[in-house]
């Protein structure tokens, strides 16, 4: 039973990717709908299995580490698997209608989509550093391909910039892995954490840690390494931007968080933790500020991603050298922030895609009059914005509330200022879009009306992110599912 589930989660996407490479866009769409049902089913079944017993290690195909691939199914991984199933399915459904099936290169959407999904699942479930690297590269290469699907020179330039930045990040990470292996002689994260506890004060490992963190920060677009993100996310087709912002940047952050939580107590330093926090804080302020200035709608949303990613890096100072309870709070806040940002940002990009489809322009100033013709999509955009502003009862509010408490309880009050300022600034850029769209006199009197399904999907995602604050407790209980050694 369990082996079927694990095989389902990792091999269904790979198989679907290969098969959909052979067929056209329309057949691929049918195939992918079946695949999405399978994936969601497998993810939910894995949840029930872990809730019934406990988390476990799983050796793929019976091959044990170090040469086999070892998977670690714990609460955190499970939360992300479920999130991926929800968001990727929504984006896939949206893309099936949104993308123009008559453009010949669009048929490559489905293979890339499925490779991306396979890579994401591999990262959430990976238990050793090298397989995490492979998963990360699979994600990067398919994400770059998806950005390039736009086909024009701007899309290619953005995707090349993205690819080069991501490759430098991967190489820095891989060099860190090489140093770690030289130091510890193991690749397993759990084994490394054990060894680091036994032999404290290893200097080479600190350098390796810093290298890996830098590489991952580059791939997560942490300020000031965020330059590649806004062009890539802004220029990609809307369902692709939604996937990239909601899930892809979270993969490298997830690895950084895993590394930090396992190895940070022994190999991290106060300076590294505070540095990550300060950069995160600067990302919040700088990203939100630039989002207020962008003339193009999708660039606004993309810069808002830079800002929201910044909050995630507050995890580092809030879990270093603090009590267990505070660390727990910070981790819960981080998880909720990832989930609520994934849902809200996917909703926002998809709604922005509808608005652009309707007005035929990417500029904020051209939104005039759209509030009459497309109130539903605009409303989804706003609901997602409410979650980004972190007003109650949204998921964003619950996340920031936990982070706020963690920073007060650990005596690091200065992070609360960042949390408050970030909320205000995000309100500013969301209202800016609204102001533009309520202008009545518009030169445009022809608005294209996108199909209902395109409008329903972002609305559902936005409602999920809105209701997240109400179901935060049961959601966090998934993360806290017990983890057993056997499997």
């Amino acid at each position: 039973m369990m082996s079927w589930l694990m095989a389902g989660l990792l091999f269904t996407p790979l198989a679907w990717a290969v098969v959909s490479l052979l067929v056209g866009f329309r057949t691929g769409r049918w195939l992918s709908w079946v695949g999405m049902v399978l994936q969601v089913g497998a993810s939910v079944a894995l949840w029930f299995a872990v809730a019934r017993e406990s988390g476990f290690y799983y050796a793929l195909g019976g091959w044990q580490a170090p040469l086999g691939i070892e998977l670690q199914v714990d609460g955190l991984a499970l939360t992300f698997v479920l999130l991926t199933a929800a968001v990727a399915s929504a984006c896939g459904l949206h893309a099936g209608v949104y993308l123009d099936p008559d453009k010949p290169w669009q048929r490559y959407f489905w293979p890339l989509f499925w490779f991306l999904w396979a890579g994401l699942n591999a990262v959430w479930l990976g238990a050793d550093l090298f397989n995490l690297y492979v998963g990360l590269e699979l994600i990067t290469l398919s994400a770059v391909g998806l950005v390039a699907l736009g086909g024009d020179a701007g899309a290619l330039r953005a995707s090349l910039r993205y690819l080069l930045a991501a490759l430098v990040g991967s190489m820095a990470y891989l060099l860190g892995v090489a140093l770690m292996y030289g130091q510890f002689g193991t690749l397993s994260l759990a084994g490394m954490s054990h060894l680091a506890q036994e032999y404290p004060g290893l200097e080479g490992a600190g350098l390796a840690m810093a290298l890996m963190m830098t590489g991952l920060a580059l791939k997560t677009a942490l300020f000031p390494l965020h330059g590649w993100l806004p062009p890539a996310h802004g220029i990609a087709r809307s369902p692709v931007s939604a996937l990239l912002s909601a899930l892809v940047v979270k993969a490298s952050f997830f690895i950084a968080a895993r590394l930090w939580l396992e190895l940070g107590p022994n190999l991290g330093t106060l300076a590294l933790a505070q540095l990550a926090g300060v950069l995160g804080a600067l990302a919040v302020l700088w990203g939100s500020w630039l989002a207020c200035l962008q003339p193009q709608l999708k660039q606004v949303v993309a810069y808002s991603s830079v800002a929201q990613i910044g909050y995630l890096f507050l995890l580092f100072p809030l879990t270093w050298g603090v009590t267990e309870a505070v660390s727990q709070q910070a981790q819960q806040g981080m998880t909720l922030q990832v989930i609520s940002h994934a849902l809200a940002k996917a909703a926002m990009f998809l709604a922005a895609g509808n608005l652009i489809l309707s007005t035929g322009s990417n500029r904020v100033s051209d939104l005039a009059g759209v509030s009459r013709f497309l109130p539903f999509s605009l409303f989804s955009f706003g609901l997602a914005g409410v979650s980004l502003m972190s007003l109650p009862p949204t998921g964003g509010f619950a996340a920031k509330w936990l982070l706020l408490q963690a920073s007060l309880n650990s005596g690091q009050w200065w992070w609360t200022l960042v949390l408050l300022a970030g909320g205000l600034l995000s309100a500013a850029y969301v209202f800016r879009i609204y102001r533009a769209s309520f202008v009545e006199h518009s030169e445009l009197d022809q608005f294209y009306h996108p199909p209902r399904r395109l409008e329903a999907i972002p609305m559902m995602l936005a409602l999920m992110s809105l209701g997240l604050g109400l179901v935060a407790e049961p959601l966090l209980s998934v993360m806290a599912l017990p983890f057993g050694e056997g499997g």
Binding site: F130, Y133, A153, R157, V168, A178
Partner: protein
Amino acid sequence: MSVHLLYAFAGAGVFTIGLFGMVFMVHLLRKLLAFNLMGSGTFLVLVGLAQHRNGVDPVPQALVLTGIVVAIAATALALVLIRRYFHLTGQVTLEPGSRDDEGHS
């Protein structure tokens, strides 16, 4: 200093040269070659550093093999993109060209 450590230091040096090229080179193909140099440096560290025990450790060899496959895939993707980009714009660098400015106005 043992010979393995020498390999590791050489690898770190090659990596640094590659990183330098990645940051300061402008031509896209040169950037791509610099990336491959970074890869080679990393693989040298991976194989060189991990040989400190008796006998040959098979794990780094397997890792490097996988790493090479990943690097080839990345290089191939980058080449396809660069080629298409060159066909569309006639440019070999990422410097914002005239088309970008037109898009904004």
